[in-house]
Amino acid sequence: MQSSSDFLIFDKVTKVFESPDGGSVTALDNFSLNVADGEFVTVVGPSGCGKSTLLNLVVGLDKPSSGQILINGKPAWQQLLNIGYVTQEDNLYPWRTLRENVEFPLEIRGMAKSERRKRSEELLQRVGLAGFENRYAHQLSGGMRQRGNIVRALSFDPGLIIMDEPFGPLDAQTRIVLQQQLLDLWLQDKKTVIFITHDLQEAIALGDRVVVMTARPGRIRSVYDIKLSRPRDLHHLHDDPEFRTALSDLWDELADEVSAANAMGR
């Protein structure tokens, strides 16, 4: 079923963690998904179902036990210069200012200082962080740090952006502001996005497609097309009948998996 337009391909990806005491945990089981160039795919699933593992496999921080992940037909982990990763933990470097953090990947890529400066200034401006460039991470609020993490992953204009519950720890108001900013940023240059979340409403509000994962071992339970038009106004999405239908359809599926995960004794 692979078509040539598929930018990113997860091909029967399985990951088994062996524990030292001889046991093993299957974190991902035959995860297969084709993602088109410029698509915004959100992935929901109960905690512990292998979502973070999936992203770590994309960037090669871990190796799949079997299967492969391809970008334009070649292994994804060999194309790190084209992947922006926003990790689940806040990973701004505390010894760098906000600006220096955003410029980190650009420094690595050898971009000239003046050019770096221009790029970071523009990005920070776009997410409302102008004026905070010279602050260190501990001098920023959680919402500001998270925007910093995202902007850093975008700074070098990667073709693929993968995000692991980037808005997880934020309060509801901050979260919706950041979601809207992310959508606006994304609409400007339509990169391919894999966005992990445990929040179903967030998954529907942001995605072109929502992937629902099963409780461990993580498999794809269903893939749901979201027919909401773009640009989306997140503040008024809840009144949209399309949003409500998607929510009620997906809610039951996810609820099954969450209770299955809880039954596993988590």
Binding site: V59, T87, W95, Q139, S141, G143, M144, R152, T174
Partner: protein, 279 residues
Amino acid sequence: MLDAGKSEQQIKSAAKGKRAFDTTLIWQLAILVVLLGSWEILSGRLFDSFWVSKPSLIIGYIYNWFVNGDFFRHLNATMTEIIVGYSIGAALGLALGLPIGRMEKTAKILDPFLLALNGIPRVALAPLFVIWFGIGITPKIVLVFTLVFFVVFYNSYAGVRSVERRYVDLAWVMGARSFSLFTKVILPAAMPYIILGLKLSIPYAVIGAIIGEFIASSEGLGHKIQLETSVYNTTGTMGGIVVLMILVVFLNSLLAWIERRALAWRPPSRSGDAGGQGL
């Protein structure tokens, strides 16, 4: 957004802290005056000032020593030993500690040897160094070196090992490889430990130089102190000790200044600066 709220409040409370009258210094001065005052008054009354001297005598001694004595010759000798020994010890400690911190296997192999070497009471080696290197400044430099090296080595080694995996992993994903990974992530992340090692080793350097001079020497502050002690001049002994104390405080504040610049990014800590150990 509510973002600016937190920082504004911080700025306000910081400003308030400055405006409020700080009584710490007053208390410190008061304690100093009481201590020195009672020493001055009780010496000669409660205690024989022959044994414990008194502040006025010590100040007078230092003044005389400074103005028409051989103060600078001794200071020069001791400082040379400290600076040369410290520089070599610190440089080598960093040059070995930082890379070995990254080499899991090497670290594991070397561990028992380093532990054993560090277990040697270095001060007990001082007489041996005199036999090997004579009574000039070389044995003192070697002694300072051995003391400083291990402190700097262990701290930079531990610093590199303490760097959080997630920082390194993410840098890797962002494209950083061996050299950039080291200079842009590992080194800055380990910097608090590195600076700590450089700071902790200052008093050790001074101890090394002074002990070395006690054993056999013809000049240096330790030599001078021993000379005065051998003729029961307690005022002279204490004068020398006071000079050493000032020296350590000076070296420590130099390092504290470097620390403030290198670690400007760290959130302010609750505890004050403990500032090395005494002699």
